[in-house]
Each structure stands twice: as structure tokens, then as C-alpha cells.
């Protein structure tokens, strides 16, 4: 699965994008976040304030209980501040 990061989440992870193998036990976005946190310290720090993170699957906003099966791309970012 392709994973993308934006704004301060991107800065903390230290990369814009990566491709990961999603373990079989990952069902929801929350599971995916728990898995990403286990990759290294940068990921753990990026997802420290979990409630502050917004998620999109295949470019649609979703909540953390959304199922990841079938999604090609997940994106993680802070609340939006455009306009």
C-alpha cells in the first residue's frame, strides 16, 4: 500500500511517501496507524498525537474505524488549514 504524509506529519516521519506491505492483522485505519507507529521512532513521533491526525483512503476523507481492505493509497495529515 502506498502511504503519503503531509505537513507536520510528513516532517516528523521524515519522508513524503513510502510503500509498505500491510500485515494481515491490519483491518482498520486505527490498526494501520498502530502498525506504522511500530516502524521506527520517527513514525512513532509523527503519530504521537493520534487524535490530531486526519486520514484519507484513495483521496476520500475517512474516520479511523474505516476498513483499509482494497485501498491503494492512505494519506495522513493534520487538520486542514487552507482557504
Amino acid at each position: 500500500m502506498n502511504i503519503r504524509y503531509f505537513a507536520w506529519v510528513r516532517e516528523r516521519v521524515g519522508i513524503e511517501e513510502e510503500t509498505i506491505e500491510v500485515p494481515g492483522h491490519v483491518e482498520t485505519v486505527a490498526d494501520l496507524i498502530a502498525h506504522l507507529k511500530s516502524i521506527d521512532e520517527n513514525h512513532a513521533s509523527a503519530f504521537e498525537e493520534e487524535d490530531a491526525i486526519r486520514v484519507a483512503l484513495d483521496q476520500f476523507h475517512v474516520e479511523q474505524d474505516a476498513l483499509v481492505a482494497g485501498a491503494r493509497e492512505a494519506a495522513f495529515f493534520p487538520p486542514m488549514t487552507g482557504g
Partner: protein, 152 residues
Amino acid sequence: MTITPRVRVQLENFDAAEESLRLSAGRLDVGAIVTFTGLCRDEAGTLSALELEHYPGMAEAELNRISTEAAERWPLTGLTVIHRYGRIAPGENIVLVVAASSHRRAAFEAADFLMDFLKTRAPFWKKEHFISGKEGSWVDAKAGDDSDAARW
């Protein structure tokens, strides 16, 4: 029949007058055009620029979803949304919404709705860069933006 909104996510500046004219030129059924322009503001004189990061693809898709919802909700004759990205200096344009309708209420409301949802749902993030050279900082989302969007 609902109109097809015109959505652009671009580096370049835009011309609000030109975009407004585009929605009225050559037609006689437009009775009201509301244009909203959001600019890069520097209240304290400390900002050198805002850096607008966006999620390419989703930014366009989300603006299209919000615009289509507005076009279904109000009887519009035209709707344009332009959001810039990249480095934007104080005084420069950031975002433009132009809503045209036969009557004023639909145009005012659609433009207001568009901005409220754009702020909370369109994937753009602002980072402030300062004249002093101190480290740039990401702008925090405002709780008021969520309550504004909840009005609709």
C-alpha cells in the same frame, strides 16, 4: 440542470475580475455574482511568506466534491473555485470563490458554504515563514472553522 463547477488548484495568481466576467459574459440570466478572495495577511509585520502545501489530486477532487454539493443545493448559473499553492507573500491572493445565480441569496449562500467546507475539508496546509529567520511554524486549525461548517 445543475452546472459543472470550474475548479483549479494552481501555483499562479488569479484575476478575480476576469473570473467574475467569465461567469456573466454572453448571458442574460445572471442576476447576482458574489466573489470572495482570501489573501495572505500579515497583521504583525513579522511574516515573510506563507507556504501552502497541498495533496495533489485529492485537493482538486475534494474541491470538486464541495463545489458539486453547492451546485446541487443552490440554483447557480456558474461556480468557480481557485486555490493556490506554493509560497505566497503577504498581500497576495490565496483563494477565490465566484458564485453566480439569478438571485443574490443563492450566490451569497453558496460562496459562504464553499469557503466553510473548503477550510475544513480541502487538503491544504499553511506554514508561516518569518522575516526574523526563526523556524517556520504550521498554522493550527481553528475550532471556529468546524463550527462554521456545522452551520450548514
